[in-house]
Amino acid sequence: MKFSLNWIRQYTDLPSGLTLSQLAHDLTMRTVEVEGAVNPAADLEQIVAAEILAVDPHPKADRLSVCSVNIGRPDPVTIVCGGINLAVGQTVAVALPGSKVRWHGEGEPVEIKAAKLRGVSSHGMICASSELSLEALFLASDEREIMDLRGMEAKPGQPLAEVLDLDDLILEIDNKSMTNRPDLWGHYGMARELAAIYQTALRPLPVLEVPADTPAFPVAIDSPDHCSRYAAVVYQGLRNGESPYWLRLTLWKVGIRPLSCLVDITNYVMLATGQPTHGFDRRAVRREIRVRTARDQEKLLLLDGHRLELDPDDLVICDAEKPMALAGIMGGRDDGLLPETEEMILELANFNPLTVRRSARRHGIRTEAGNRNEKGIDAARMDQAMGVADQLIRRLMPEAAVAAYTDCVARQPEHPVIEVSLRFLATRLGREITSADISRSLEPLGFSIETRQSGNDTIFLCHVPAWRATGDVSLPEDILEEVARMIGYENFTLIPPAVTLEKAISQRDAETDRAIREYLAFHAGFQEIYTYPWIDDFYIEAAGIQLSECLELATPPSPSAGHLRASLIPGLLQAVAENERYLETFRMFEAAQVFQHGETHPSDSEEALPLQTLQLGLAMAGDDPVRLFRQVKGVLEQMPRIVQVEPWSFARQQQPAWADHKAWLNLLSEDGQIIGSFGLLSARAARAADIRHSLTALAELNLDALRPLPSRENRYQRLPQFPQVEQDLSIVIDSGVAWQSIADLIAGLVRRSEFIEEYHGAQVPEGKKSLMFRVWLGSDEGTLTAEAVEAKMKKILKMIRQTLGGEIRQAGQ
């Protein structure tokens, strides 16, 4: 909303010497953020009033005239002009060289220069109102019509801004920042706030006085829940038409387009008090005004041409026959004010803000009135609005009189009183405070305060002013806020909290989560990624997951991404597909929650949330499948020890839908639960995910299932007393024999054994593989002799040959 500082000054005298930046700062710190401020006069530098002394045809152009113009200098100047309404003696606006105008009322302002137009020198420009962005104030019926200052007191050469009385400061306040302060939605409310900040006096508003014998107009409120009070003031003897310049200017400066005098009056009242009003043409209203909910499928044609189909949740203002307005939002076209209106029913009403908000939202209509009525305006504001309206109508139309008047009150407003103690305020504010401080903060805002002594504490009974009593201020904490902001938040300095040391924080789950991410990033070379929780169905299906397993959003971010992830694999597939365009080998991981149907009750039994598990997903892209498999396996083998969680084991129990049938393993917890899987991406899934170039290894692990060790676990093993002997072995064995079965077989004969490599191919017979590994031999009694080593090696080879059928290929050192 825009606020005119001149308008505010009608209600309170701001301190002399108050600068704009100080005012903006004070209001921003204490009340609402000032987003900007402009002076409407600023754009009109070097633009002056001028008198046309002579108009002659241009010698070379039919559509141009050559004018001799008095711009307040000893000699007149010549200006070439295309205006169609030029006349000798006319007062016009002249843009002198150096000023800026919007060419033909369009685009950015451009600078005016003295120039020759078709051979005739022109010293400036006679302006149309649109060229000065004043078209809303000075209507033009043709775009070639120049702005006529008839009726304005103007001396030639006088700055136009002065003639038009434009000097003002317009503050821009974001509506959103005022949603909780319905009292600020008018100039009087803002003046009250500034008067409180600067401790200046606030002038009272006029009051409507109706003679006791004034007849009533029939008004009925059928829905007191939706409307607590409705006043109808019937005026006669009106004359509608164009408003006087000062009223048009006042509205125009705060961004409201002047329309006709009666409409301008209703807008003025709203911008002054924050109370929307509406005028009905008396002749269009049949017999009575009735405030009721709409009937199903009832129709209403609005002022803006919208044709509404109403429903019983809408509140409407009706006469004896039909709806005339959507309550608090917009009037109807058929009953509104017309140029010839002589009798008007002025509506002032207090509506339930929820009713207004719901109707406005349902029908998608946003209006200045609706914006205010949905905020919760106090019913007492109607009295202010009636007073301001009445004064204005009488000022503009001296023959006007109140012909009938009804003030129908369906529900009395509440008058909340908040009890708050001095000790509470002092403790929570964290500073010494006196009763006088509290009065000084609250009373200018309209609170009245009674004090009562209770032991050695003082109790304040704070009567909340009507304009703050519609939900804004209702608790001791609200009083605290009012006091604190009036003292000024900048006047409170940090109060460090007192410390009690009981025990160190131990959060093994959070620590483990971090240890895993850091292990992957810093030890294992993985890049952490974030993806969205919703995922394109394409990748869910590619991962072999049924869409029915996934939760769904009511309003999906995009039509094909309405399902929430039940696994991190689909997101990783998408990430691999997108990155393989730029990179050949890469590793990435994500740790995030996944969602499945089910029920959990994390905080209370009434609330049932779906299953939500913190998962870890890994993806590695490369070109050598066995190597990829061993790499991802190695990352997972090392992980529990490095991140200090209970170890897991590998087994084949349940094949992941995305996995190559040969290359996958499950991860089992110590009690045998499957807590994760890893493997190579199957050719089917790769094709389905449109991964064309890379081979991919994937892993998924349920992080919630990990059990962090309570403290770091390491176990010392004595170093061997006597040197151990290393022996490399290479055997040819059936291709299906697992390395682990060999390692297990010889475990009792060696200190330790280690896989080196295996080979399938031309060098070994069909169905066989060559396997190379290393063993360490040693003894606690002494260094092994060459004979003892040889004997052990023979034993090992015999065992392998007899049990698994392997043949020596060669025995190295």
Binding site: M29, R30, S177, R428, L429, G430, R431, L475, E477, D478, L480, E481, R485, Y489, E490, F492, T493, L494, I495, P496, P497, I505, Q507, A510, R514, R517, E518, A521, G525, Q527, E528, I529, Y530, T531, Y532, P533, L551, E552, L553, A554, P557, G562, G571, A575, E578, N579, Y582, L583, M588, A592, Q593, F595, P602, S603, D604, E606, E607, L609, P610, Q612
Partner: protein, 345 residues
């Protein structure tokens, strides 16, 4: 004989001083000191001399031998000192071989930095599930029943629950604040905690707006905590992120779950508060909301608002990383584009 010794000595020392490597040194040693070496040969002829000559010449020969031995050692040391394992030239400008290393997501990085700072102040780290209910996302946080944020235009409701209400209407959480009620219900007060995490809002996406974002929220609850204590939380965050104390100001702000509520501004780090394009000439940049938990929120968490008070702050990490690192498109954070992510270490 003496002249012969002198000549040999000079020749040997000359050879030594120009010897280029260990092998050449060894050759020289053999030539003079070896079993068949020249000096050895001379020494063998000493027997044929008179005792007086033998004594003199013997002394000289020993002196020459010591001299040669020392020179050999000296030259060997010199050669070691001159030696390099590099054959030929080494181009020192060739880039180093980098260790295989990945990185944490830039938002995780800043999140961990903040966690470290808050843990040093005795705060716990807490987390809540991504899917919450209207009860914890709105009702318990004092959002009025008709608050626009409850609409599906703002919040991602789960299909099938969108027409329910309260504990039965489920959503991707639109903010983290609900987690505070869950924590306080479970652990009571006093409490100091941070609860970073993901939040989601139904928005149109562009370079400045995301539907999924990462927030960092901290809460302190204690007996009668004055609101000015909240400055500790604000300063902790900004100092960690910017590496120095940053001027802040707290001004009036309205949010349903706090009373009083604040908008918290920091002095513009680009212009130092003088006013520039970044801060829209104001000198201050709005960085986070904060405030004292509303009494209704404390009540929902089972705490008596006449006893307990506290302070919340909530900051969006996406925007903070953008401010700190110059990222100009918020969508990059969830792009999984490794070319982007690997820039952050």
């Amino acid at each position: 004989m003496k002249e012969q010794l002198q000549t040999m000595r000079n020749a040997c020392l000359a050879a030594l001083s120009s010897a280029a490597d260990k092998a050449e040194l060894e050759q020289i040693r053999l030539r003079y000191l070896g079993k068949k070496g020249e000096l050895t040969a001379i020494l063998k002829t000493l027997g044929s001399l008179t005792p007086e000559e033998r004594r003199e010449t013997g002394q000289l020969a020993n002196q020459v031998k010591t001299e040669i031995t020392d020179a050999l050692e000296h030259r060997a040391d010199e050669l070691i000192n001159e030696m390099s394992v590099i054959e030929g030239d080494l181009d020192l400008t060739i880039p180093g071989l980098k260790p295989d290393s990945g990185a944490l997501h830039p938002i995780t990085q800043i999140c961990y930095d903040l966690n470290d700072a808050f843990r040093s102040l005795g705060f716990e780290i807490f987390s809540e599930d991504d899917i919450s209910s209207e009860r914890y996302a709105f009702d318990y946080l004092n959002f009025p029943p008709d608050h626009p944020a409850r609409e599906s235009m703002d919040t991602y409701w789960l299909k099938g629950s969108e027409h329910e209400s309260g504990p039965e209407r489920l959503c991707l959480r639109p903010h983290l604040t609900g987690a505070s009620v869950r924590y306080l219900k479970a652990h009571g007060a006093p409490a100091r905690l941070v609860y970073p995490g993901r939040a989601y809002r139904n928005e149109s996406v562009d370079a400045r707006h995301e539907r999924a974002f990462y927030q960092y929220e901290a809460l302190i609850v204690d007996r009668d905590l004055p609101f000015a204590t909240g400055q500790l939380l604000i300063r902790t965050i900004l100092e960690k992120v910017f590496g120095k104390a940053v001027d802040i100001r707290m001004r009036a702000g309205f949010f349903p779950f706090v009373e009083p509520g604040f908008e918290i501004d920091m002095k513009c780090q680009v212009c130092g508060g003088k006013g520039c394009r970044v801060c829209k000439q104001v000198g201050w940049i709005e960085v986070m909301p904060g405030g004292t938990p509303h009494p209704n929120v404390l009540k929902a968490a089972g705490l008596d608002p006449s006893v307990w008070s506290g302070f919340y702050i909530n900051i969006g990490l996406d925007r903070l990383v953008m401010m700190r690192t110059g990222v100009d498109d918020v969508r990059l954070f969830r792009s999984a584009d490794l070319r982007f992510l690997s820039q952050f270490r």
